[in-house]
Subunit: 590 residues, 2 copies
Amino acid sequence: MRKIVLAQINTLAGDIKGNAVKIKEYILRAKQDNAELIVFPELSLIGYPFGDIFIRHKSLIDRQLEELNDIKKETTGITALIGFAEPNKNEGQKPFFNSVAVIQDGKIINTVRKRLLPNYSEFNDYRYFEPSHEEQKVFEIDGEVYGIIVCEDSFNDKSFFQQNSIYEIDPIEQLMKQKPQTIINCSCSPSRNGKEFIKNTLFSSIAKKYGVNYIYVNQSGYADNLCFDGTSRIYNKDGILTARAKSFEEEYFLTENYKAEINPIPSGMDKKVAINDFSMDYQNDLERTYKTIVFAIKEYFSKNGFSKAVLGLSGGLDSSVCAVLLADALGKENVWGISMPSKITSGESKNDAKVLAENLGINFFEVPLADTIEKMKSMLNFSFDNIKTDKYDKPTTIENLQARLRATILWSISNEYKYMLPIATSDKSEAYIGYATVNGDMSGGFAPIADVTKTKLFALADYMNKNRENKNVIPQSVLIKPPGAELKINPETGKTVCAEEDNMPYEFLDEIIWFVENSGYGFNDLMHHTFLYEKKHSLTTEQKTEWINKFFWKSKCAVYKWHILPPSVITDIHSINSVEYHQPIISRVF
Amino acid sequence: MRKIVLAQINTLAGDIKGNAVKIKEYILRAKQDNAELIVFPELSLIGYPFGDIFIRHKSLIDRQLEELNDIKKETTGITALIGFAEPNKNEGQKPFFNSVAVIQDGKIINTVRKRLLPNYSEFNDYRYFEPSHEEQKVFEIDGEVYGIIVCEDSFNDKSFFQQNSIYEIDPIEQLMKQKPQTIINCSCSPSRNGKEFIKNTLFSSIAKKYGVNYIYVNQSGYADNLCFDGTSRIYNKDGILTARAKSFEEEYFLTENYKAEINPIPSGMDKKVAINDFSMDYQNDLERTYKTIVFAIKEYFSKNGFSKAVLGLSGGLDSSVCAVLLADALGKENVWGISMPSKITSGESKNDAKVLAENLGINFFEVPLADTIEKMKSMLNFSFDNIKTDKYDKPTTIENLQARLRATILWSISNEYKYMLPIATSDKSEAYIGYATVNGDMSGGFAPIADVTKTKLFALADYMNKNRENKNVIPQSVLIKPPGAELKINPETGKTVCAEEDNMPYEFLDEIIWFVENSGYGFNDLMHHTFLYEKKHSLTTEQKTEWINKFFWKSKCAVYKWHILPPSVITDIHSINSVEYHQPIISRVF
């Protein structure tokens, strides 16, 4: 019986001691189970992503090697694969290799170094690591020959990627010359919309093509805006999935003869995403999005020592969705939803906020702002009397004042109470065009939905209403009313201005975002493109031009806001999160 | 007569049209001057730093090549060297080369590609560019043979860098096989403390070693937290400086027979910095720091369409220094300084703010906060009555409330008036340990001094008092009183708590920062280190341990704040600015 443990651990970057303790516990347990091999994720000893930790804190380098040395002692009778940052002594090269130590019976018998170093999107491998130019070595346990690769090394199969290949060599092709019977992939692979489809089909096709077992071990956890879904697994020599660990959960996953339980993945997660086609059918990504965000909240809070959240409830979509996600991540008793109506807040909004909180069972109360706003206004008017220079002819100041007072209340509460973080409720569509207030709704200790577009949020709200144990917590009225910040009154209608009047229909905006992010579309490309919205509504060229122009102009001005967005979690195919996307504030793209 | 123009231009990333217009104007002028060669900086056509512009806005790629084609037509009778992002068609490689087109009489006769790609600190070359493996080609004008290198290609002279070499090859050594008589270095090199010493000695030594003229062309300008000082120059075959363009200014710099004016550089800018030694003598870096920040403010404002600034004046050091820098960058008539005293603000502080503003001649008025704070407090107390969970036993809430109300006033003013930005006055020492309020003093459209430590700020204030035309604008009382935010009263003394009581002496803190940033010191290294402070004062091991512990603990908690710091400008040897330093919020280094 061949027993292998897929150690789908959750690490903390820089916490070498803590990571080492966990690794040793897992090894001990694997030995008790008579496993012959235990596989940890990429860079598991230092923790990933570790950013510039080794640059500013050099003493950690030695500490890592000391811990590795200590772990060796625990490997009597077992083989352990442990990812670590291996110092590179070669002059004129990067200071580390991204390596996996093969430790057998107390000795490092082999060190495998990553060859393909991703340096795009959220990845910065080449900042720290020297790419290895050596073919990877195999090792043997009881006559079975194993070949090891590190994450990206598996992502250049020429028959799979064809013209989309971004590297010259295929490490697996080269590794196969040594005829391993099983390939082991030690990874740290963040979750994104559409990624599971690629991983599943790629790994399966490699297993089948070479007639090898394929073991994939991914870390579970969240850090630095990235969520790692785990979902470690094995494919057999026919490319058939034979074992799969849980998703979004740390797990000690014992397999026997390359088989074990096949845990379910979030519904639709492995479906292909047609990036050349925008659709409002988000069905295949809702459960994964929900789990990604809930897991990220849990992780962000617990790893930073927080356990409670406070947010403003406007009765609108964004704050309602955030409240549900927070309640599910932290427990409803640990969430405070506060309604902070101003003079122009509608009775319906106030009621929606209250009903949501009651349905959800979170803590709730109302703080009327009208008096304080009047006081602040008179203070501001005093200031304005003292400043003689050109004014804007726009109601922006008072709109934003409401949002800022709300954020001040939330931050004050988080200052007053232990372990409590205020929440930024901005969504991705609004962040894209800067339709969020600095020090207002875009401010917070964490921004759960900053990478979810508005049209997808409607679908997510509907999904949560149907799929949680406690159903329909978000009132139907929230799902059907047009979104708006309720910060100003339209003098013609006497009603609060909805966001689509200020900007453009969200359906149209979200399609622009889709093609800018996924296809690199510019103004002309978008003008030539037929929008889904156009198929349903009449749209003049003038209106289309105005909206596309508005998008580029507003997103240019929003780049500053992208740079100061609170920590969030990437869930989409692409994101404006600064961990992934580097757009200088001073630039022109239009 | 050999006439060469060093085109020290200021570019805007992505504004290919605007950059091309400028390039053509410069070429035209050079032709009028009968110059035979004009040299533009690295990546001058696309503008640097351009971040992910080509990734999200693919149409710019073609536009760049169209403009390059158009520029060609202007080169009759002249040779122009123009930096651009050259698309790389090779499969499995990065999408561009970082190239310089050698355009002569309407034709690209040569394309030189960068070989050494920096990918550390603020540099991300390898994210976009394929390193060239070809030796660089030379070209000839009237019998003179020129060799071109791109920026970093000049930074691996083995005899100069010795064991600090971070690349395997030395492109200049290889280039010399083709016996150029002159080396031209097209660069985009940001200004930092200590960098000019390296550039000057390195370039001079290369010129002398190989017996060549060395022409260095650097861009001037600011973007994305980086300030480019220009200071283009020529060294002759003996390594002697024979021409130097201005610093921190765009310039058309015409040279004749490798000679021209040698413009002065900021005093002390070329002095060596001993990074293994902390000193409070900042003299050699004050003029450069001053010019860097003033230039950055000018650039940030003008390139983003702003012309006015509003800031809170507390009567303390940080806001006073910011006010002077802003007045010098934008004109005193474009700066509004507002005193916003609360109940605990001392009369002395109020007076210092007023005197500073009067001395400086900026707009000034006072807005008392006490009433509004009382109103906000009662609103908060109402909220607190509704929340039953563990409170902190600290006065943080009310301290921060004052800072947030001040920021709200500043942001409201910037919302109300055209082209006006609020200023974040946080300094580097305080940012490092998070001694700044979210949505308070650390919030703003720009943060001028976020990379200047407190002890250096005192020196900078003194420098400005002595070296501006209008002398001693910062009152002496500001320079001698202990810094403090005046946000709380010490119940024992009845006086406001100064920052050093809350934290540790700034001299001690700044020395920790120095060794963490420059030497990668950890806790143990710092404990074994003898601080300057210790040489002057008695310090128990307990106190030393407490302060060092406090530094690591507070800076761990401050990483969130580093991530949301407003745009600033890097001036120090190293910085916590996220453009340079990548520290995950979720991490442990201690």
